[in-house]
Symmetry: C2
Subunit: 548 residues, 2 copies
C-alpha cells in the first residue's frame, strides 16, 4: 500500500550516516512548492476547528475539554475527548501485538505515509502551531511543519537502521567432532511497551515527532499528551496517524490523544506500570521529577539550559552583531536553543572595525537588535508573540537583575491587537553573578557578562553547562588556538558548538539529518534528537533457535 | 602498537551483523591449541597468588583486604588494596580526557590487546574462576576464559560499530538564493562518565566483561567491583588491563579494582553523583534497588528469573531426557540460564517411545539425572561445587516444597574432600503452586509442574516470565502448531526460546556473536549481552560546525 516510500526511507538511512545536507520535506511555503491555494485551504481547515469539538473518534470519559488561547489574543474554543488514563493504556496494549507482527519494514512504510500526509497538511498545522505557540507564521510553517517532519523521518530512519542492523535469520554451524552442530535461528524485534510523549508549549510538533516516530516505528503504541496550551497541532497529527493506521489495517488506538487542561495527566500516565517509554520536553524541574519517578520506563527528557556565546574576537564585527541579534530576537528567544549568556572579556575585543570595549560591544549589540526590530510590522514576523504568562513575567523581572543594556519593548501587532509581543531585554552582569546567569531565564532575556578573559569565559562555559546544561554554544574568535580551546571546552561540557556564525546560519537552528539537537552529555537532554541512542531501548530482539 | 587486531575487529563487526557461528578465542584447553605446559604454568600462576597480597599498584586506604574461600574447601588468603570510593572516582575522572581523545579506533585496538592478553592467561584465570565459583575446571576454563573473552570482544565490536555508524566529518551544503550555505562539521564521540561494573559470584568474568569492555571502548573509565567471594578472576583482569593501558601511554587508573569483603561498597559507588554507568549481575532485589536509586546513572542489570521448559511431545524421548538432565546438572544449576520450571500436561505426552504419563516422564527424568551423575568422579566434573551457603540452603529446603521426584545427593569430591557438592533435587508441583515456582530458587532445584494442557503450560510461561523474568525458555513438541504457539508465547513474554534440544546444544548455553543472552523485554535483564541497546547511552556525540 505504501511502497512508494521505499526510496525516501533508503535515502533517509543514507543521510543519517553521511550527516550532510538532506531534507525530505520542502521548507518553502511557496505555492510553487505546495500548490496554488494550499495556504488558503490550510487556513480554512484550521479555522474550521475553532469553537467546536475536534473531529476525533476516540474512547474517553464522555466529557470534552480544552482551554487553548492563542498568544495572538483569541480563545480557540476547540475541545477534545477527555481521556481515562487506564483505558488509554489498555487500548494501547491491546493494539500492540499486530503492530509488532507487522515487522520493521512495514511499520517504517506506515510511519512514512503518516509523515507524508502530515506534510500535505503543513499549512493547516502551521496555523495551529502559530496560534498555540505564538510563533510567527513562517516559523510556525517551517519549524512546525517540514522541519518537524524531517526530524520525524530521521527518527524513523534511525529506528529502521537499528532494527535491521543484524540479520533476522541466521544459520549457526559450529565445527564439532563428527558432524557440525547446526542450528537455524530467528531474531524478532519486539516493542518495549506503551510509550508516552509529553509535548511542550513552544514547539509542539518539532519536539514531539522524534519520540512519537521513534517509538512507533519500533513497534510501540504511543499516547500523545500535549501541553494544555498547545493541543491542536498534535491533535491534528494524532488524527492523521489514526487515519493512516486504520487504512493500513491496524488498530488506530496505536496512537491516541491524551488532552488535558493541566490536571497532572502527564504524571499519572508516566508512572503507570504499563507505560514503558516516556519522551518529555519542558522544564528541568519536571524532567528531573520524571527521571526520578518514572523508573519503570525508559525516560528521555529535553530540559532547560544556559546557552552560551563566547566572544573573543572577530573579523566580521557587523556580521557577528547581526547574527547574535537575530538569534536573540527569533521567536522572542523562546527557543530552547536561543543564546542567553554572552561572555565578553571586560577589557574588550579585537575586531575588523578596530578594538571595541565591552561597553561598545554591548551598546552595538543593543543597537543591532533595535535596528532589526525597529519596524513593528517586520518585527512581529521575527519575534512572534509571547507564549505565556511565565515568559512575560521573566521579561518584566529582568531589569532588576543588573544594568539594563537594552530595554524590552512592547510592540503592537498590526494584525492581532490582542497579541502580547515583547522584544529582547539585554542585561549586563559580571562574572561573579553566576547565581543569576547560571540558571535559565527562558524567553527574550539575554545577559552580557564581563569576564576576566576569554580563558575565563571558557571556564564559565565549562562550569555552567556541565552543571546546568545547554543545547547550544557558540564562539567568535579569529585565533585558531582560541577556537581549539573552545572546542575542547565544548567537548568537556558536552555541548554542540558553532564557530563564527556571521551569515545566514544561526546557533538556534539545527538541521535534521546533519546537526544533532542536544547531546545527552550535559544535563539539558538525555540524548540527541535524533541518534542511535535515542532509538535504542525502544525495542528488543527475541530469538528462537532449533536444530536445522 | 596494537595494529595486529584490526582484522579481529573487522571480523567481529561482521559477526555481530551476521549472527552465525564465529569465535575469536579457542574454547579447547588442549595443549595443541594453547601450547605445551600452558595448563601447568597457569596453575602455578594461580597458586603463586595464594596467601599473599595481590600484585597490583593502585592507590587505596593502605589496608589490604579479602576473604575469598574456594567452594572446593580452602581459604585463598589473597588480599587486595582496600579502595577509597571518592579517590577511585576522582582517579577515573582524571584519566578520562586523554582516553576520550584517543578516539574509537585506538580505544578498540587497546581493548582487543587487553582481551588478547587475557586470553593468553586463560589457564591462570580458569583456576581463579574454579576456586571462587565452584565451577568444574573445564567449565571454568571455557565460560570463564574464551567464552567470556568472546563476549568482551562482542561488546567492543558493538561499541565500535555504534561509534562509527555515522561519519566523524561532514560537509553540509544547503541550496540557497545566491551562494549555497556551506558548513564543515566535526562529530566527536565523548564518554558518558565513570562506569562501575558490579561482578557476581558465579560467573565473575563472563558477566563482567560485556559491561567492562562496552564502557571502556566507548571512552569511559571503569571501576570493577567484584563480588566479595570472587575477586581474584577480576583482579587478574584489571591488572592485565592496567598493564596494557600503561604500555599504550594511557593512565592505568582507567580501570581500577574496588575489592571489598561485603561492606556495601557497591551501593556507595553506584549512587556517587559522578558515577554515570552501572552494570550489575545478581539478585532481583539488589538490581531493583539499583534501578530505583542510581538514577544519576545508566543502569544495566541482569537479575533472577524463572527459566521454563514446556514439554508437549517429542520424537526423541531419550534425547530430550538426556538434554534436560544435563542442563539441570551442569554447574549444579547455578547458571542464570539453567531451567527451573518443567511444565508437563497432567495427562502425559506422546513420544517416539510411546505415550508417557506425567509420573513416567518425571521418573525417567530423575533416572536420567541419576545416570548422568552416577559416578562421583565424573559427576563432579559436571556439577562442580556449591558456590555458597545461600544455594546450599535452598537445596536443603526444596523437599519441603512438594513431592520429591529426585533427592539431591551429597557427593564427596575425589580431589577436594572439603568441597560441597550436591546433585539436583527435582520436586513435583501442581499448576496451582505458582507461589512456589513463580520465583527463582537459584541452584540445583527444579520443578516438574503438572498443567492442564500444553496451552495452559504456555499460559504459565507467558504469565510467570512476563512478571518475574527469565533468561531462557525451551519447548519440546512434534507439532508445528505448538511450536508456533510457543514462539508467540516467547515473543509475548520477551524470552529467548530453544526448540527441541535433544543433542549437544543446551538451553543454558548461549554462543557469543550469535545467541543473545537475555533480551531486555522481560524483568530478568535490561538489555541483551550484547546488542546495540547495551552500548547505546555509554557515549554521546558532540558536534562543532563552522562555515567552510
Amino acid at each position: 500500500m505504501f511502497d512508494q516510500h521505499g526510496d525516501t526511507l533508503t535515502r533517509a538511512m543514507k543521510a543519517i550516516a553521511e550527516r550532510g545536507y538532506w531534507s525530505a520535506y520542502p521548507e518553502s511555503p511557496s505555492p510553487r512548492v505546495y500548490g496554488e491555494g494550499a495556504a488558503e485551504r490550510g487556513k480554512e481547515a484550521f479555522e474550521s476547528y475553532l469553537g467546536k469539538p475536534f473531529p476525533i473518534e476516540q474512547q474517553g470519559t464522555g466529557l470534552w475539554i480544552g482551554a487553548e488561547r492563542s498568544p495572538y489574543g483569541m480563545e480557540l474554543g476547540v475541545t477534545y475527548p477527555e481521556p481515562s488514563p487506564e483505558q488509554l493504556v489498555d487500548l494501547a496494549g491491546a493494539a500492540m501485538p499486530a503492530w509488532r507482527d507487522a515487522g520493521p519494514q512495514e511499520r517504517a512504510q506506515v510511519c512514512a505515509e503518516i509523515l507524508h500526509r502530515i506534510n500535505q497538511r503543513s499549512f493547516e498545522i502551521a496555523n495551529a502551531v502559530q496560534h498555540t505557540t505564538g510563533q510567527a507564521f513562517v516559523m510556525a510553517f517551517q519549524a512546525g511543519g517540514p522541519h518537524a517532519q524531517d526530524r520525524g523521518l530521521e527518527a524513523v530512519a534511525y529506528g529502521l537502521a537499528a532494527m535491521t542492523a543484524a540479520r533476522s535469520h541466521a544459520r549457526w554451524e559450529k565445527p564439532a567432532k563428527g558432524d557440525p552442530l547446526v542450528m537455524e535461528k530467528t531474531f524478532t524485534v519486539v516493542p518495549r511497551g506503551v510509550a508516552l510523549v509529553i509535548g511542550c508549549n513552544t514547539f509542539p510538533t518539532w519536539n514531539a515527532y522524534p519520540g512519537l516516530f521513534a517509538s512507533l516505528v519500533t513497534g510501540n503504541p504511543v499516547i500523545v499528551k500535549p501541553h494544555p496550551g498547545a493541543i491542536l497541532p498534535l491533535a491534528i497529527t494524532v488524527a492523521i496517524a489514526r487515519e493512516v493506521l486504520e487504512e493500513a489495517g491496524f488498530d488506530p488506538d496505536l496512537v491516541t490523544l491524551a488532552a488535558e487542561e493541566g490536571q497532572g495527566l502527564a504524571s499519572q500516565l508516566a508512572t503507570h506500570p504499563d507505560v514503558r517509554i516516556v519522551d518529555f520536553t519542558g522544564s528541568t524541574e519536571y524532567g528531573d521529577w520524571l527521571e526520578r519517578n518514572a523508573t519503570q520506563a525508559l525516560v528521555h527528557t529535553e530540559k532547560a539550559g544556559v546557552n552560551t556565546v563566547v566572544v573573543d574576537s572577530t573579523d566580521s564585527y557587523k556580521g557577528m552583531l547581526g547574527n547574535i541579534a537575530f538569534s536573540l530576537s527569533l521567536y522572542s528567544g523562546q527557543m530552547c536553543t536561543a543564546p542567553q549568556n554572552i561572555l565578553i572579556p571586560s577589557d574588550g575585543i579585537q575586531t575588523d572595525a578596530g578594538p571595541k570595549s565591552l561597553a561598545e560591544v554591548a551598546a552595538d549589540l543593543a543597537a543591532a537588535v533595535s535596528r532589526l526590530l525597529g519596524d513593528d510590522a517586520r518585527a512581529v514576523e521575527l519575534t512572534g508573540a509571547i507564549v505565556n504568562a511565565g515568559v512575560l513575567g521573566r521579561v518584566e523581572a529582568a531589569p532588576s537583575l543588573g544594568e539594563v543594556v537594552l530595554e524590552s519593548r512592547a510592540v503592537t501587532h498590526p494584525a492581532f491587537p490582542g497579541a502580547t509581543v515583547r522584544t529582547p531585554v539585554i542585561v549586563k552582569l559580571s562574572q561573579a553573578d553566576e547565581e543569576t546567569y547560571g540558571r535559565e531565564h527562558f524567553g527574550p532575556v539575554a545577559f552580557v557578562i564581563a569576564t576576566g578573559s576569554t580563558e575565563e569565559s571558557l571556564a564559565v562555559l565549562r562550569r555552567t553547562i556541565s552543571s546546568r546544561g545547554a543545547l547550544t554554544a557558540s564562539v567568535y574568535s579569529t585565533s585558531p588556538q582560541v577556537l581549539e580551546a573552545a572546542e575542547r571546552a565544548a567537548l568537556d561540557a558536552g555541548v554542540n558548538l558553532s564557530c563564527n556564525l556571521t551569515g545566514g546560519v544561526f546557533v538556534n537552528q539545527s538541521a535534521a539529518f546533519s546537526d544533532y539537537h542536544g547531546t545527552g552529555a550535559n544535563p539539558a537532554a538525555t540524548a540527541s534528537l535524533t541518534d542511535p541512542g535515542f532509538v535504542a531501548g525502544r525495542f528488543f530482539v527475541v530469538q528462537s533457535r532449533r536444530h536445522a
